[in-house]
Symmetry: D2
Subunit: 279 residues, 4 copies
Amino acid sequence: MATSEKLINIGSKHEDVQNRPDDRNVPINEVGICDLKFPLVLKGCEKDQSVTQHVQAVFSLSVDLDGAKKGIHMSRLLETVLDHNTELSLNGLKNFLEDLSNRQLAKNAYAKIDFDYFFTKVAPVSGIQSPQAYSCSFECAYDSGGFKLKQSVEVPVKTLCPCSKEISDYGAHSQRSKVWISLLHKQEGDSEVGVSLEEIVDIAENGASSPLYPILKREDERHVTMSAYDKPCFVEDVVRNIAIVLDGDIRFYSYEIRVVNFESIHSHNAFAVIQKSNI
Amino acid sequence: MATSEKLINIGSKHEDVQNRPDDRNVPINEVGICDLKFPLVLKGCEKDQSVTQHVQAVFSLSVDLDGAKKGIHMSRLLETVLDHNTELSLNGLKNFLEDLSNRQLAKNAYAKIDFDYFFTKVAPVSGIQSPQAYSCSFECAYDSGGFKLKQSVEVPVKTLCPCSKEISDYGAHSQRSKVWISLLHKQEGDSEVGVSLEEIVDIAENGASSPLYPILKREDERHVTMSAYDKPCFVEDVVRNIAIVLDGDIRFYSYEIRVVNFESIHSHNAFAVIQKSNI
Amino acid sequence: MATSEKLINIGSKHEDVQNRPDDRNVPINEVGICDLKFPLVLKGCEKDQSVTQHVQAVFSLSVDLDGAKKGIHMSRLLETVLDHNTELSLNGLKNFLEDLSNRQLAKNAYAKIDFDYFFTKVAPVSGIQSPQAYSCSFECAYDSGGFKLKQSVEVPVKTLCPCSKEISDYGAHSQRSKVWISLLHKQEGDSEVGVSLEEIVDIAENGASSPLYPILKREDERHVTMSAYDKPCFVEDVVRNIAIVLDGDIRFYSYEIRVVNFESIHSHNAFAVIQKSNI
Amino acid sequence: MATSEKLINIGSKHEDVQNRPDDRNVPINEVGICDLKFPLVLKGCEKDQSVTQHVQAVFSLSVDLDGAKKGIHMSRLLETVLDHNTELSLNGLKNFLEDLSNRQLAKNAYAKIDFDYFFTKVAPVSGIQSPQAYSCSFECAYDSGGFKLKQSVEVPVKTLCPCSKEISDYGAHSQRSKVWISLLHKQEGDSEVGVSLEEIVDIAENGASSPLYPILKREDERHVTMSAYDKPCFVEDVVRNIAIVLDGDIRFYSYEIRVVNFESIHSHNAFAVIQKSNI
């Protein structure tokens, strides 16, 4: 028998091991695949909801498994992605999760989609435009509690230290910082959930001493330097400035804000976190 | 005025900006420092509780901040580490957290200490011994709920696929996998909390197709190859094998098991998670 | 004066600090920017040279600086990317580097463009198709030696250990491995340089025990398991299998092959490297 | 036959596959293991050469392989580490490499040892002391060219932008930066090679706007803020300031300096590199 024939002839070896009963009777909260890179065309991330962008996403996909079954069908998870490929933007996620769970005969399904999205930044004086990347994620759950979506954006910003400014005759240390804003949405009925990521970016940038820009000409750099000096922010200030904007916004159920300052006077970092329910 | 004099003369610039009142009145869940590398001599991680090991830890330290205060005293966080340096093993963590919160006049304090710990692995046939690193963490909280400790260990293991073995005339794909076991302890009264990390490592390794070893001579490699083939494990099997051992162990409040298979037939990974309360 | 006015009024503060003379007289080999994320439409990476793909690239861009000048014009580096945006595929790189050096009045220019590219993988028996990501880079230099281009591709594969197979009564350990192939091209006259990345991927995959696939149905998994068992490869074998194919190929000046096995019996990795000139 | 017996009985399966001849006749530049974590007690890294420190190192170990042999003996690489354990400081590296090559009957041997080393930093005004981690490496080669050692240290520092200071009415952006200094030593006869890492750290810190410190009280923060403002440095300045110190130092054959600024006004980084031979 030739090798190719031998390899194809699965013959009596056809039993689906995953379908065998499991006598340990231990249910599994989540089982699936992660670190799966997949290209997507995303829609609905910008204020103009009709704009699309090609992104290179990383998926984590999982379902629950009841105690009586030995395993899930791993290959079906990726087949579900292939079938829903074109609708994997904000509004298609619920259908995608329903299908994920149906194909595994599972009760719950989970997906996390991480991607970089480019928004155009406009230099503050010269007006030069250039794309800047923001790391984003959509984390969704479809279970007995209905459909939930957590949108997260990582926004690099600049902070200038109020203490350093106050205690020094001149100057003040500044540094790059990162803001993570996560918004948890719980769907009521068939309402649409989610806000534009672009709006979240604006909120994060406004909470710090200054936004960052890919291109700054000299007049822009002067502007960023002086406006940051005019708006010094502790890590505590940034997290609070953002909390005030998000607080009470009933478009989402709860929010989490995390800010990290890559301190320019230490080799460790400073951080602050606020988590709060709005509903 | 000489530069050195000028720089030291803080004169009227003495106000502690962090102590100013804050009129936004937004309480902060956590504020502190992270990614701080610090050398420690750890005790109590092995079955023989008296053994010590030099580790190079990474700290995250934080407290809550009430809405009326502008900032915390970042430098005091590290001063607290310096003062408790020699007692930063399992049994000293509660005192450390109490002191962290007291020095900031905070209600809650949190610490996460990540470190690599070396346990000796003995090759299964030749008996050759060599140290193997395991990434570990102690995550603690001191708040109105009392003192809580989460111990986590990352354990690299080998898994061999039961489906691949079953459907093939010969061979079966195997791969490196990682197991994370986290045990949450809630202190009752003044009882000591925590188990030896070495015990957790054993439980993780026993749940997979085979442990890993730094040195394997040919007779050892034969043993590992055949014993793994004799004990095929899906990612679902590993997480369940471990759950059965941890289940009902009232030395800890709850557990989480996470297993990732770095699949040798895919460039993405497979994973499974079980979380459960014991009490 | 209003803040906005104040910030724009650069007035007498117009000197270009970077243009000042530098009295240390120390030439700098490379100065520029790195870790710049930028979206590109790439052409010429596939066997069908007309195919394009949207990628999210990371740029490093630099030039030399002679000892008499204080600094380069950082913002012009990114402006050059913006201006050459649409031609930043294989054939436009030389023009791009010439322009980079011209705008800085530099003699040498360097660029490194890292990106993930998706090629379609076809499951070996079922024929199911799915995209798989490969990390790639174009590294170019424009200097007195002319124009040089190094193309690199990282290819995940499967290896099965010949020793483990030989010494065991049944089974053999296998694992995920990674192959990096780098091809250095030196341009002669105005000849085009570079080969299709897809061809490099094929060479890497053929050198190992088996390629990897995003989706494998049971008949495919049987095929991959048995064909890998039929083609055991040490890390030494993979690097040699590939060297034999690349050796003497005068389309490129030299090659480097690096293979890493993420050993499924150890928590450390095995690796092998071959570097050789073809011309 | 019981499983344990079965697994130990290697019987006729005793051939050493690695020792078989290889008919492809392709020599391999380097083959070995990497990402091996191993605990060491290092000596000779500080100005006081007698001081020791426990570190957690990561090893890469390799030898060349001639074209006639199928494979190397991977387990012997780690056995060599175990045997030389206590002498794996600067002065023992040459013996270690000789032994590595001898045990594999190889001509060349290579080792790279990466580790974090803690040096004590003293706050500039308050004098408070605290350990700060520096990522270091020893990269060695033993081949026909004799024994070579490359010592590298990564030093985090602060830079303040001269352009931003010049063009702004007040303030100037600053950020955390990293300096990598690598010194290549070629041994003449039996001379000792290598300098204290502590000396390299000082050179790197003196080249920037300011060193970093783990603990800064308010008077220290004032000092760091103002002294950095008094010593603005482009990325070009840092690399040049350091080159001037290293230039002509005949204790080493050549040097490479790499500086990266994690710009606080951009989300990308700026970098500069100088490479030069001293001999």
